[in-house]
């Protein structure tokens, strides 16, 4: 990793004034370099600022102190290289799936060209929604909607894909299925992914590095490299490296390995 990181957070802090006028630090002095094609997961309990970090990278909230650089340029200039997937699919219910995927193109240049339509079809094919392009979102299951949302985030071919608990609203089984689906997409497209989740196993299963954050104020407690061979599968979860990584993450969140009295997930 000698090259300049595709995404760099340099001592980033974010603070806001609460109702009683006191300053609340949502994010405190967070520094992180992400290299091209890397899959980074951010985990932590609620209130640790993991979603805030993602929103700052996306440019949805203002930074109080520090700087974010995307592909070497100040964050504000690199923003069009970033795609985002939210917890809810946020598909527009009056558009077909294909038109939803093409929405960012329509915003940027008015009318999608034949090449854009072909790109949308290819993306939908990739996630197994090939025949559903003409359907409306409400006709699809939650997992299918979220896959379409991933296609929408990829249509502009961004360098970085930001995912804010994208599978948090899905049931446990669909969620597991979506994890492997995402890994497949990542292998195929080699995007840099920053993935926020509150599930430790999910973070370990997916990523190259897990950033562990702790709340009040939101800080990086640990950065855990994941030495699981790829491509990963259900068997990866029985790997010793998987156990070691999850244990280390639990310890840095709870202060112990979490097996005694704390919930494990």
């Amino acid at each position: 990793m000698v090259s300049t990181p595709i995404l760099a957070l340099d001592a980033v802090s974010q603070a806001y004034l609460s109702r009683d006028g006191s300053e609340v630090r949502a994010l405190d002095d967070v520094s992180l370099d992400v290299s091209v094609g890397e899959f980074v997961a951010i985990v932590g309990p609620s209130g640790c600022g993991k979603s805030t970090a993602l929103r700052l990278i996306a440019g949805l909230d203002p930074i109080t102190r520090g700087a974010i650089r995307i592909a070497g340029r100040p964050g504000a200039e690199g923003r069009d290289r970033v795609g985002m997937v939210f917890q809810k699919a946020t598909l527009l219910h009056w558009l077909t799936i294909e038109k939803n995927v093409l929405l960012p193109v329509r915003v940027r240049k008015g009318r999608p060209e034949a090449a854009d339509v072909a790109a949308a079809k290819a993306l939908l094919d990739m996630v197994g929604l090939g025949q559903f392009g003409g359907k409306h979102p409400q006709e699809l299951s939650g997992g299918m909607q979220q896959r379409a949302a991933i296609c929408r985030a990829l249509i502009q071919d961004p360098d970085i894909l930001l995912m804010d608990e994208p599978f948090g609203a899905l049931d446990a089984m669909t969620r597991e299925e979506m994890c492997f689906e995402l890994l497949r997409i990542w292998e195929a497209r080699r995007k840099t992914i920053v993935f926020v989740t509150h599930s430790i196993p999910e973070a370990v299963l997916l990523s190259d590095r897990v950033v562990v954050m702790t709340p009040r104020p939101g800080r990086i407690a640990d950065i855990v490299p994941i030495d699981l061979p790829r491509p990963r599968s259900v068997a990866s979860m029985h790997d010793r490296a998987f156990q070691t990584a999850t244990d280390r993450i639990r310890r840095s969140i709870y202060g112990h390995d979490g097996t005694a009295d704390r919930p494990t997930l």
């Binding site: 949805l60 917890q87 809810k88 946020t90 009056w94 915003v107 006709e139």
Partner: protein
């Protein structure tokens, strides 16, 4: 894919036929028996026509007045359509302004509240003095009554955009008009149509009120004229025509939504299920 099949699966066509048949049969039967009861009661108790005319007598009177009816219906329709049209043309852009700018919202709301708390029936005679006895004052009354609910529901719809959709729009860097045209307005369509349905009914009320005050034609005018001569059956007839006009206009609004915004209706149904 079994979730897909479950979602797409519809009740059998026979079951659907029964449901539709019931949807038509039950209201027709209840309305029919009510009319029969009315007719029977009037004859049985010998109620005089100027107190409560039988349905048959109302129909008879309507047929006798026949040639004069189209002109009166047209006059009322004109007021309704002009009042409703004006309220749409003003309420929707104003709603956009209110939803987009807190300054506009603060500036406009008190004014709206005051005009809305004032009963329009009280203002109608004053408007006639200001605007004259012509179409302008009638249109204004219909407009003032229909306008407010449409404005409120449109504003509500525009502000109901989910937070994550607002974020999505910002991520795509939409311009103000792109955001409005591609995201906010389509999202507000179910709310706008809820407002339009109220507005069309209120326009009819507004038109009648205005005709009570100033008119030389129209169904409202027909009611004041016929009651002045104790022709109660004709007054009832005019009321029936008014309701029919209201129902047809309401139906047109519903139809417009179904034809041009099928997803708005569909989504409503899904949300209710």
């Amino acid at each position: 894919m079994d979730t897909m099949e479950r979602l797409i699966a519809q009740p059998s066509s026979l079951g659907r036929f029964w449901r539709t048949a019931q949807g038509i049969l039950i209201p027709v039967c209840s309305l029919g028996s009510l009319l029969l009861l009315w007719e029977g009661a009037v004859h049985l108790f010998g109620i005089r026509p100027f107190l409560l005319p039988a349905p048959s007598r109302i129909l008879q009177e309507l047929v006798a007045t026949g040639p004069h009816l189209p002109g009166n219906i047209a006059a009322t329709l004109l007021t309704v359509v002009l009042g409703f049209g004006t309220s749409v043309l003003i309420a929707i852009p104003l709603a956009v302004a209110i939803a987009s700018s807190p300054v506009v919202a603060r500036a406009v709301y008190p004014l709206l509240l005051i005009t809305q708390s004032t009963p329009m029936i009280a203002i109608a005679p004053i408007l006639v003095v200001i605007m004259g006895t012509g179409q302008l004052s009638r249109t204004t009354v219909a407009f003032l009554i229909a306008f407010f609910p449409l404005l409120i529901s449109t504003v509500t719809g525009l502000l109901a955009t989910p937070r994550e959709v607002v974020d999505l729009s910002r991520m795509m860097r939409t311009s103000f008009f792109q955001d409005l045209w591609m995201i906010r307005l389509p999202g507000a369509v179910p709310f706008i149509f809820a407002g339009l349905k109220v507005a069309i009914s209120l326009s009819v009320i507004g038109a009648v009120v205005s005709e009570f005050v100033t008119a030389n034609a129209g169904l409202g005018y027909l009611i004041t004229q016929s009651t002045a001569f104790f022709n109660v059956p004709l007054a009832f007839g005019a009321v029936v025509l008014l309701s029919a006009t209201g129902v047809v206009l309401f139906g047109l609004v519903v139809l417009t939504e179904r034809v041009f915004f099928p997803w708005s209706v569909e989504n409503d149904r899904i949300r209710r299920d």
